[in-house]
């Protein structure tokens, strides 16, 4: 399903561009144009699957704490594809400023696809009286980036959505997100409502200029 420009956060695009506060009009126009192009070029693809936690080789204290009380978890992956990359490379040659804006908008687009997917999965589980923890991705806290390979293999993500990981742990296509979400039983008294902010767990907490602007990247 395609994205519409409205679904891609202009605010997040500006933040990725390093813009603090209200952007000057020229930059705002450029960011808006980049968001429009990103919606046009993105080819959103997603895959998810449920696993028993006992079957997942998760390591790290942070992911364990995040999934406390869960016995099952959802692995998910979302990408905007690599079709936009050729346009982006060409744009870097003809209009580098527009290319940087598009690069940022595509990042925001990947986030938008992931948000939409998480909401769909959450609705699916809500219908069965279950809820999901917020997303937690490889690389957060002490949850190792090296889990990407296992996560993609579990989802058969190469075959299903064309998502791969490079030998040094980078997702390709670049504008992609993977995550784990724990499944919680919504029984009275023990329910743990999902929270939005996982910022405190983020290794970039102190340095993050987006957080300082009051924007959550949703992770």
């Amino acid at each position: 399903m395609k994205l519409t420009p409205v679904q891609i956060s202009l605010e997040e695009t500006c933040a990725y561009l390093g813009c603090r506060g209200t952007p000057p009009p020229a930059l705002a126009r450029q960011a808006a144009e980049a968001v429009r192009m990103a919606a046009e070029l993105a080819r959103p693809r997603t895959v998810w699957r449920e696993f028993a936690l006992a079957d997942l080789p998760l390591s790290g204290r942070d992911i364990a704490a995040h999934l406390a009380g869960c016995r099952r978890a959802v692995l998910l992956a979302a990408t905007v594809g690599q079709e936009a990359e050729r346009t982006l490379r060409a744009l870097f040659r003809t209009d580098p400023a527009a290319a940087v804006a598009l690069d940022c908008a595509l990042g925001a687009a990947a986030e938008a696809v992931c948000v939409r997917l998480s909401e769909e999965i959450a609705a699916d589980y809500a219908a069965r009286g279950e809820s999901l923890t917020p997303r937690f991705s490889p690389g957060y806290g002490d949850f190792p980036l090296s889990f990407q390979e296992e996560l993609l293999a579990r989802l058969d993500a190469g075959r299903r959505i064309g998502l791969t990981v490079s030998p040094d742990g980078l997702l390709l296509p670049r504008k992609s997100v993977t995550a784990v979400m724990g499944i919680l039983k919504n029984t009275a008294g023990t329910a743990r409502q999902p929270e939005r902010s996982g910022c405190r767990d983020c290794p970039r907490y102190e340095a993050c200029h987006i957080r300082k602007e009051g924007i959550l990247c949703g992770k």
Binding site: R45, V47, W48, R49, E50, F51, D55, G81, Q82, E83, E85, R86, R89, A90, R93, T94, E150, A153, R154, D156, G158, R159, I161, G162, T164, S166, P167, L172, P173
Partner: protein, 484 residues
């Protein structure tokens, strides 16, 4: 060229392939995310049992359990391609040996490397080639009857694979890619571009596998059939998996019913991919039994890149600015190895409406083959136009053709026997078109009759190398009045 696969195809209206291996092994204890290629080392008897069930369901060709047996994918697994491929062939042969029916062909199965090729990723074309070559040599040595490249999404990667097979083995080649509902792979490669490009490289059969259920693949199969004269392969999934438990939705009867519809677009090799079982293949056998494949019409000629098709008929605009002749700045850029200059020129012409780009990087003092390869790689990283490789140096022509992921044009040959002998085999090998200039070592003849005679000579030579007539483009060299 006749081989084991073409002989099998000549005997049967439909060649029955097998069904899924991975999802079958999951029922035998393979965990999600675990690799079938490692499972076959530990439980060869379970793999043999799956093969045997497919034979009993009517499969004429078995795909060995070697899909992910590349050195790159097996890194850190403690084993190597040779060991896995040996075990997988032993398991398949074991199933074939004790089988009372017709002996199947054993296909060395090769899937994608799992890393993206440059420019989307870091893996270079020649590295991909070397990885495929290693698997191919191992399979050929073990007596594989053919090789199957499947589930590919990047035309560049599939080209590396097919070229490795053609250059390093004598195995018949089957190539299938996985497409989305829109008829393109995850990298944007269209079904038509895949068919034209891979037929050009000399594959024996091609088509689609995995992707979706059969119903959704029908328009894609039609597009492939309209773009190739080669036998069409369809190996569809049993629908899509349920994210909760991984189960597939299509029953054998429904799968077979949907697959039977492909007879109408000329399918010759039929099987199942993810989620299919021996019951699906048996149902498919029964559904195809009363049918005959429709004859495939001859496709109209077209140039293409991985993402764009340009029908060869009509008038097209070829950008001719990527040529140093008489251009001081371009010459300097070539001497400096300034690829950026070439890219900017290419983008400018594309922006101005060029449908094809002619590329000439030849001048004294440069390494023309190396420069040609680099220029092609970089141009196709920013543009989707088909390319015309313009050189008189066979090494540069080959470098350009090898790097270009599509069906391009070689510019040019003339009636000179030595030129024809050196360049036409390259045109044939890479499936390109060729421009024939109606001149020879004696110069440009004055009369139309003499030029026609040269054109005939070029065409006859091209045909003798197996280049199809429609891929020979004759330039009659109409000169300007002022030059006469």
């Amino acid at each position: 060229m006749e081989n084991k696969l073409t002989r099998l195809l000549a005997r049967k209206p439909f060649v029955l392939l097998d069904g899924a291996m991975g999802t079958m092994l999951q029922k035998e204890g393979l965990k999600p995310g675990e690799r079938p290629e490692l499972f076959v080392l530990q439980h060869p008897e379970k793999v043999t049992a799956v093969h045997r069930q497919y034979l009993e369901s009517g499969s004429n060709i078995l795909y060995t359990c070697t899909f992910g047996a590349s050195r790159r994918k097996l890194a850190n697994s403690g084993t190597d391609p040779q060991t896995v491929i040996r075990a997988a062939f032993a398991a398949a042969r074991q199933a074939a040996d004790g089988f009372a029916g017709e002996r199947p062909l054993l296909a060395l199965d090769i899937g994608p490397i799992g890393e993206m090729l440059y420019p989307a990723g870091m893996l270079r074309f020649e590295e991909a080639y070397a990885l495929f070559k290693e698997q191919l040599l191992a399979g050929a040595e073990l007596g594989a009857d053919l090789v199957v490249f499947e589930t590919m999404t990047d035309l560049g990667e599939l080209r590396a694979a097919v070229l490795a097979a053609k250059e390093c083995t004598n195995l018949p080649v089957v190539a299938t890619m996985t497409f989305e509902a829109g008829g393109r792979t995850f990298t944007g490669c269209s079904a038509a571009a895949m068919a034209r490009t891979i037929e050009g490289l000399g594959a024996d059969a091609l088509g689609v596998n995995c992707s979706l259920g059969p119903d959704a693949l029908l328009p894609i199969a039609r597009e492939i059939a309209a773009s190739t004269s080669l036998p069409l392969v369809v190996k569809a999934n049993a629908g899509l998996p349920d994210p909760r438990d991984g189960s597939y939705s299509l029953t054998p009867a429904l799968f077979a019913q949907q697959m039977a519809a492909f007879a109408e677009c000329g399918m010759r090799l039929a099987g199942g991919c993810c989620g299919t079982t021996p019951a699906h293949i048996a149902a498919l056998r029964d559904a195809l039994a009363p049918l005959a494949p429709a004859p495939q019409p001859k496709p109209a000629p077209a140039f293409c890149s991985a993402t764009r098709i340009l029908p060869a008929g009509g008038v097209h605009i070829i950008g001719e600015r990527l040529n140093p002749t008489g251009k001081k700045q371009f010459q300097q850029a070539l001497l400096d190895g300034d690829i950026d200059y070439i890219l900017d020129q290419g983008l400018e012409q594309a922006g101005a409406g060029a449908e094809l780009l002619d590329l000439n990087v030849g001048m004294p003092g440069v390494d023309e083959p190396a420069l040609m390869r680099q220029a092609v790689e970089e141009l196709q990283s920013v543009l989707s136009l088909p390319l015309q490789i313009d050189s008189s140096d066979p090494a540069a022509i080959e470098a350009g053709l090898r790097a270009f992921h599509g069906v391009g044009i070689v510019n040019s040959v003339n009636g000179d026997a030595e030129t024809l002998e050196k360049i036409l085999p390259l045109v044939k090998k890479y499936g390109a078109f060729v421009v024939g200039l109606t001149l020879d070592s004696a110069g440009i003849p004055k009369t139309a009759a003499e030029r026609l005679a040269i054109a005939r000579r070029i065409l006859d030579a091209a045909l003798s190398y197996g280049i199809p007539r429609e891929k020979v483009l004759i330039d009659c060299l109409t000169l300007t009045v002022s030059a006469q």
